[in-house]
C-alpha cells in the first residue's frame, strides 16, 4: 500500500533521516521503533505532508505520493499526532464534525461518521461535553478517532498511547485491532516494546536516521543472532545501550 524508498531529510546540516526504506501493506500494522532522535517523527512528518523538501520516493498503491504538494494525497491518510491535537473548547462531537468537514464529507456522511467514531471511542455518552473536561484517556481516544473521520486506508499513529492508564491503552488497542481487521493499514511509532509485540505484524527499527532492520519480531531476533531474545533485547542490540539524545 505505502512504499517508502530511500527517504532522506535534513534539518540544515543535520541528517535526520537517511535512505529509509520500508513498506506498509493493507491490513497490516508496521511498528516503527527507534530511540529518541532516531528519525521516526521526521519520517512520519514526511509521509503526512508536514515536511516537503525530502529526497527519495513515496508511493501509494503504486502511484507517486506527494502529500506536501497535493492536498488530495493528504486526504488518503489518517494521522494521529503524539500531541492531543483536539480543540479543548469544542465538544467531542464538534471536534469530530470539524475534521469530517475538512475532509469534505457531506452532512449525512458526517453525521454517520461522527456517531460511528464516538461509539468506537466509547464517547457517545459524552458527545456534548467539552474535550477540555475529559480525562487523559478520553482525550487520547478522541485524538485517535479524529484522525479516522474519513475512513482512510492507511493511518499513521505517532506514539498514540503516551500518558494513558492501562484501561484506556487497552481500549485504544482494541480500536486499532478492529481497524486492522477491517483492512486498514497502520504505521505505528512507539517506545513501548510490549505494545509493538502485541499490535504489530512487522517491525522496522530505526537508528540514527536509517532503518537498520525490518521483519516480524521473531525474524528480527533471528537476524540479530539471538533467536530466544525478546524484542527489547533485540532492540538494544541493534541500536546500542548508550543514550541517543544527549
Amino acid at each position: 500500500m505505502l512504499e517508502v524508498t530511500d527517504l532522506a531529510y535534513s534539518y540544515g546540516t543535520r541528517n535526520a533521516v537517511q535512505k529509509a526504506n520500508f513498506s506498509v501493506h493493507q491490513g497490516e500494522c508496521l511498528g516503527l521503533l527507534g530511540p529518541n532522535g532516531a528519525g521516526k517523527t521526521t519520517t512520519i512528518s514526511c509521509i503526512v505532508g508536514l515536511l516537503s523538501e525530502w529526497e527519495g520516493n513515496l508511493s501509494m498503491n503504486g502511484a507517486e505520493f506527494r502529500p506536501a504538494k497535493r492536498p488530495s494525497d493528504r486526504g488518503k491518510l489518517g494521522f494521529v499526532p503524539q500531541e492531543l491535537a483536539v480543540y479543548m473548547n469544542l465538544t467531542a462531537e464538534e471536534n469530530l464534525n470539524l475534521f469530517a468537514k475538512l475532509h469534505g464529507l457531506g452532512r449525512q456522511q458526517r453525521q454517520e461518521a461522527v456517531n460511528e467514531k464516538l461509539e468506537l471511542a466509547g464517547l457517545a455518552d459524552r458527545r456534548g461535553d467539552l474535550a477540555g473536561t475529559f480525562s487523559g484517556g478520553m482525550k487520547r481516544r478522541l485524538n485517535l478517532v479524529a484522525g479516522l473521520m474519513h475512513s482512510p486506508d492507511l493511518v499513521l499513529l505517532d506514539e498514540p498511547t503516551v500518558g494513558v492508564d492501562p484501561q484506556s491503552r487497552n481500549h485504544l488497542f482494541e480500536m486499532l485491532l478492529q481497524l486492522k481487521s477491517e483492512g486498514v493499514a497502520l504505521l505505528y511509532t512507539t517506545h513501548y516494546m510490549e505494545e509493538a509485540q502485541r499490535l504489530c505484524d512487522r517491525i522496522a527499527i530505526m537508528n540514527e536516521g536509517s532503518v537498520v532492520a525490518t521483519g516480524t519480531p521473531s525474524e528480527l531476533a533471528v537476524d540479530a543472532g539471538e533467536p530466544d531474545a525478546d524484542l527489547e533485547q533485540v532492540f538494544l542490540k541493534l541500536t546500542g545501550r548508550s543514550l541517543k539524545d544527549i
Binding site: L51, R74, F79, E83, L90, E94, K101, H103, G104, A146
Partner: protein, 485 residues
C-alpha cells in the same frame, strides 16, 4: 475542499472556541470599554480645562499688510506657545477680496485645516493711529478649549508687548465700561492709568531691547496721551466701545476666551460642521477614536496568536495533515480575526456613542468603510506578528511593544497636533498605520467629512497599503516558519 470553504470552516471553529471562553470574551469587551471611559473622562474633564501644552497652531490673515500688522505678527511668532501660520490672501488685482477671503478662512476651519484664524483688520494702521486697540476677528473651531487658552494668553501677551501701556489703559476702560461705570469716572481713572501706562511702556522697552521684535512705540512714543488728550478720548471712547459689535456666540463669562474678550476688542465667530454636537469636545472625539484604534490592535493581535497557540498545542500539525491548502489555514485565521475585530469595533463605538455622544453614527457608510479598513489592517498586523513570532509569549511581548509605540506615535493617546514634533519624528508618526486610522476617524468625527473626501481617502489608502504589506509579510513568514521544508 476548496480554500474558501476550508477557511470558513476553520474560522467558525475559532469563533466557537473563542465564544466558549467566557472570561476571555468578557475581558475582551470590558477592558477596552473601561479604558475608553477612563481616557475619555480624563481628556474631557481633567485636561480639557487647563493649559500647559506645547505649541498651538494659529493661522493669521493679515488684511492690513501694514508695518504695524507685521510687527504684531512677528511678535506672535516669537511667542513660545504658538506656531503662527500666515494665510495667503486671495486678491482681485492689487486689492484683497475680503468676502472671498472670509469664505476661504471659514472653509479652512470647516475642513479641519485650521482650528483658529486671527484676522488683522484692514484699517489696523488707522485704528492704532487713533490710539485704539485694533478690532481683531477670531474664527475658531469650538470645542478646542485647550488650544484656545494658549491663544488667549498669547494674544494678551503680544498685545501688551506691541501696544505697550496703552493696551492696559484701553483694556481697563473697556472692562469698566462693560461693568457700567460712568464715563466721567472712567476718564479720571484713565488719567491715572496713563501714568501707569507710561511706566509699563518703559518696562516693555527695556525688556524688548534684546529682542528682534521692536516694541511698537515708534509712532506712539510721542503721542503717549497727555492728560488733556486722555480726557478728550475718555469722553469719546465709552460710546465707541459700546458700539463695538458683540456678536460673540458665547457668554463672555463662560467662554474660555472670556478674559481676552474682556481685555481686547476682539470679535469671535464659531465655525464648525453643522452636524457636530455642541457638547462634543475635541478631546472626547480624540480619545474615543484613539482608544478604539489602540484596543482593537490588542484584541486582533491576541486573536492572531491563536495560530501560535495551535502550533504549541499540536492542533496545527493536525490541520496541516488535512486535505486543505495551507493558505486556507492562514485565511481562516484572518477571517476569524476580522469577524472578532468588527464585532469589537461595533461594541466599542456603540458604547462610545452612548457615553459621549460624539456623533459616530451620523454617517454610517463612512463609519463602516473606516472600521472595515482599520480592522483589515489590524488583522493583517495580528497575523504578521503571529507569523514572525516563535512562541505566543514572544508574540505578546512584541505586540505590547509595537502597539504601545504605534499608539503613541499615531496620536491615539494625545493629539499629535498639540505636540511640537521635530521633522524626523513627525515623519515617523505619519508613517504609522495608527496615524492614518486616527486621521480617518478624526476627520469623520470632528470635521464630519465623508468617506469620499480626499483626506479620508488618503487615510484609507495608507491603511490598505499597510494591510497589503503586512498580509504579504504574514504569508511569507507563515510559509517560512510554519510550513517548514
Amino acid at each position: 475542499m476548496n480554500t474558501i470553504s476550508a477557511a470558513w470552516v476553520l474560522a467558525q471553529k475559532d469563533l466557537r472556541s473563542f465564544l466558549r471562553d467566557k472570561t476571555a470574551l468578557v475581558l475582551s469587551i470590558l477592558v477596552p470599554i473601561a479604558l475608553v471611559s477612563v481616557f475619555g473622562w480624563i481628556m474631557a474633564y481633567a485636561f480639557g480645562g487647563s493649559g500647559g501644552m506645547p505649541k498651538v497652531t494659529l493661522h493669521v490673515a493679515d488684511f492690513s499688510q501694514s508695518k504695524q500688522s507685521q510687527q504684531f505678527v512677528d511678535s506672535l511668532k516669537n511667542d513660545a506657545s504658538l506656531k503662527v501660520r500666515l494665510v495667503k490672501l486671495l486678491k482681485d488685482g492689487d486689492s484683497v477680496n475680503q468676502d472671498a477671503v472670509q469664505s476661504q478662512l471659514e472653509k479652512l476651519i470647516r475642513d479641519g485645516d485650521a482650528n483658529h484664524v486671527l484676522i488683522l483688520p484692514s484699517d489696523m494702521e488707522q485704528q492704532i493711529a487713533e490710539d485704539r486697540i485694533p478690532q481683531f476677528n477670531l474664527l475658531r473651531d469650538p470645542g478646542r478649549a485647550m488650544e484656545e487658552q494658549v491663544i488667549q494668553i498669547a494674544l494678551i501677551q503680544t498685545s501688551a508687548q506691541v501696544f505697550g501701556g496703552f493696551f492696559f489703559t484701553d483694556a481697563m476702560q473697556r472692562m469698566l465700561t462693560k461693568q457700567g461705570m460712568d464715563t466721567q469716572t472712567i476718564g479720571l481713572i484713565r488719567t491715572w492709568m496713563t501714568d501707569i501706562g507710561s511706566t509699563m511702556d518703559t518696562f516693555y522697552e527695556n525688556s524688548n531691547s534684546g529682542s528682534d521684535v521692536p516694541a511698537n512705540h515708534d509712532d506712539q512714543g510721542e503721542d503717549q496721551p497727555d492728560i488733556r488728550e486722555s480726557e478728550t478720548k475718555s469722553e469719546n471712547e465709552p460710546d465707541q466701545v459700546a458700539e463695538q459689535p458683540t456678536t460673540n456666540s458665547h457668554d463672555a463669562g463662560e467662554s474660555m476666551l472670556g478674559l481676552m474678550e474682556e481685555l481686547m476688542p476682539i470679535e469671535t465667530k464659531d465655525i464648525s460642521p453643522p452636524n457636530r454636537g455642541k457638547q462634543v469636545t475635541y478631546q472626547q472625539a480624540q480619545s474615543v477614536a484613539g482608544m478604539t484604534v489602540m484596543m482593537l490592535l490588542f484584541a486582533l493581535t491576541s486573536c492572531g496568536s491563536v495560530l501560535l497557540t495551535e502550533r504549541e498545542e499540536g492542533t496545527l500539525k493536525r490541520l496541516f495533515s488535512q486535505p486543505i491548502s495551507w493558505n486556507a489555514i492562514l485565511l481562516g485565521k484572518f477571517l476569524f480575526v476580522l469577524i472578532i475585530g468588527l464585532g469589537q469595533m461595533a461594541i466599542l463605538f456603540t458604547y462610545g456613542e452612548w457615553m459621549f455622544r460624539v456623533g459616530l453614527f451620523r454617517d454610517p457608510i463612512t463609519l463602516i468603510v473606516l472600521s472595515l479598513s482599520w480592522v483589515v489592517a489590524g488583522a493583517a498586523f495580528g497575523m504578521f506578528l503571529a507569523a514572525i513570532s516563535r512562541s505566543s509569549k514572544q508574540a505578546e511581548s512584541l505586540a505590547s511593544l509595537l502597539i504601545l509605540m504605534m499608539a503613541a506615535l499615531g496620536g491615539c493617546w494625545f493629539p499629535l497636533q498639540m505636540m511640537n514634533l521635530p521633522t524626523l519624528l513627525d515623519t515617523v508618526c505619519r508613517s504609522t498605520m495608527t496615524y492614518w486610522a486616527m486621521t480617518g476617524f478624526q476627520n469623520m468625527l470632528w470635521n464630519q467629512l465623508s468617506w469620499h473626501d480626499t483626506k479620508i481617502l488618503q487615510a484609507l489608502g495608507w491603511q490598505w497599503c499597510w494591510a497589503a504589506v503586512l498580509t504579504l509579510g504574514a504569508i511569507v513568514f507563515f510559509r517560512r516558519n510554519y510550513c517548514r521544508g
